[in-house]
């Protein structure tokens, strides 16, 4: 931040989204947005470093020379995290947040992939994406494609346009093996050139071989939390014309 390195600590919670505090100025940072909402740096925003959330098997195939964070020597993390997704999914939601009463378009703790583009925000319910190989949409005027990895859980979003032209993508589901982390890598074909694309958004065969799609930042989140920080968000509804939303 402004050339100064900040050391962040877990320091609180704000409507179920964590708050971090930096040692250097004592400012409070909201986890979801990276924005300081209290303290000397109030109003500043940390720069988002692109990251994606994928299965270890997929990441390992893509980055054989990469490095993996080694766990803490204390076994506390292992015990706590053994069933953390199920545990957290059962936790109550703060009363009063939009959608907490279950009357919203999704249950409060439905997992969504959240995208923000050109001032527009949209939540893609992960349960609806998992059974598919590819999702095409338009968001904030940008053609978007979401690829679903071979484990059925790893998701990546890209801009699906070249030279200002929208490019359609189709999943190449040869024999369509069941979605597991150890299934063979999935491939996609674009409808413009017929090239083959991998999960990293790179054309691996065909006329466009070597081209890369521009990755788009996406955040996996609970619906209620995404809704708090994106009050005007829409929800992707599969099966409707043009990736309609409500």
């Amino acid at each position: 931040m402004g050339g100064r390195r900040l050391t962040l600590h877990l320091a609180g919670i704000n409507n179920q989204n964590f708050v971090m505090r930096d040692d250097e100025t004592g400012s409070w940072w909201q986890q979801s947005t990276g924005e300081a909402f209290a303290g000397p740096l109030r109003g500043s925003r940390l720069r988002l470093v692109f990251a994606d959330e994928v299965a270890f098997a997929i990441w390992r195939r893509e980055h054989p020379a990469g490095r993996v964070l080694r766990p803490d020597a204390s076994p506390a993390w292992r015990t706590w995290s053994a069933d953390w997704e199920a545990k957290t999914g059962r936790m109550p939601v703060v009363a009063g947040v939009p959608g907490a009463d279950g009357r919203g378009p999704l249950p409060p703790r439905a997992l969504v992939l959240g995208l923000e583009q050109g001032g527009a925000a949209r939540a893609y319910p992960i349960a609806a994406l998992a059974g598919q190989g590819v999702i095409q949409d338009d968001l904030g005027g940008l053609p978007v494609v979401i690829l679903v990895g071979e484990d059925g859980r790893s998701l990546r979003a890209f801009e699906s346009a070249f030279d200002g032209r929208r490019v359609p993508f189709f999943a190449k589901l040869d024999g369509s093996p069941a979605a597991t982390a150890t299934a063979p890598p999935r491939l996609w074909v674009d409808g413009t050139s017929g090239s083959e694309w991998d999960f990293q958004g790179q054309a691996v065969a065909g006329p466009w071989q070597g081209r890369r799609l521009r990755p788009l930042p996406a955040m996996k989140d609970y619906w209620f939390d995404w809704r708090i920080y994106h009050p005007r968000t829409t929800v992707y509804a599969a099966g409707r014309d043009g990736g309609a939303s409500r």
Binding site: L8, N15, E53, L69, W77, W84, A95, G96
Partner: protein, 171 residues
């Protein structure tokens, strides 16, 4: 001595009342932010601002309160008999506890930070990450680092430098 106690008695209560007020203030300074930052209750912007102000002030404020409480107890000590003196000594306990609490991070007690980060090769990592486990993947300047979600979800914040860029990985 007993003769001197009687006339001083009417003048003791303001000191005792001040001591009680100091104890209450020290406890409140620490307790209000804890109460505000409970995990499953709504937090308003105003309550968050108040909690922040109190948390910032608490370390110094509780030390001042401890000094004030000690001075008040000392002031009352001479004019108090033994059972009362025990009460005076006990009065310092909540103020001391508040000063200690003001220096604790309850959230990091629940979810201890990963102080020293270490890394393994993808092959060695199979000892602690399953193929289907999700990882947060960052790549900067050719440096590809994976942060297993199970670990990050516990620590919540892990600090590291990837490709020369300092990053706080949070989940």
């Amino acid at each position: 001595m007993p003769g001197k106690m009687a006339p001083s008695r009417p003048r003791r209560w303001p000191w005792a009342a001040t001591l009680l007020a100091v104890i209450a203030a020290a406890v409140a300074v620490v307790w209000i932010p804890i109460w505000t930052l409970r995990p499953f209750v709504p937090q308003s912007a105003a309550a968050m601002a108040r909690a922040y102000a109190l948390l910032r002030a608490a370390p110094a404020a509780t030390l001042v309160a401890l000094a004030a409480a000690a001075a008040l107890a000392w002031r009352l000590w001479g004019s108090t008999r033994w059972p009362g003196r025990l009460l005076l000594a006990a009065a310092l306990v909540p103020v001391g506890a508040a000063a200690w609490m003001a220096r604790q991070n309850l959230f990091e007690r629940l979810f201890p930070p990963l102080v020293r980060t270490g890394f393994a090769s993808p092959a060695a990592a199979t000892a602690f990450v399953d193929p289907g486990d999700m990882v947060l993947a960052i790549q900067v300047q050719g440096d590809a680092a994976a942060f297993p979600v199970r670990q990050i979800a516990f620590h919540h914040v892990v600090e590291e430098e990837v490709g020369g860029t300092p990053v706080a990985v949070t989940y």
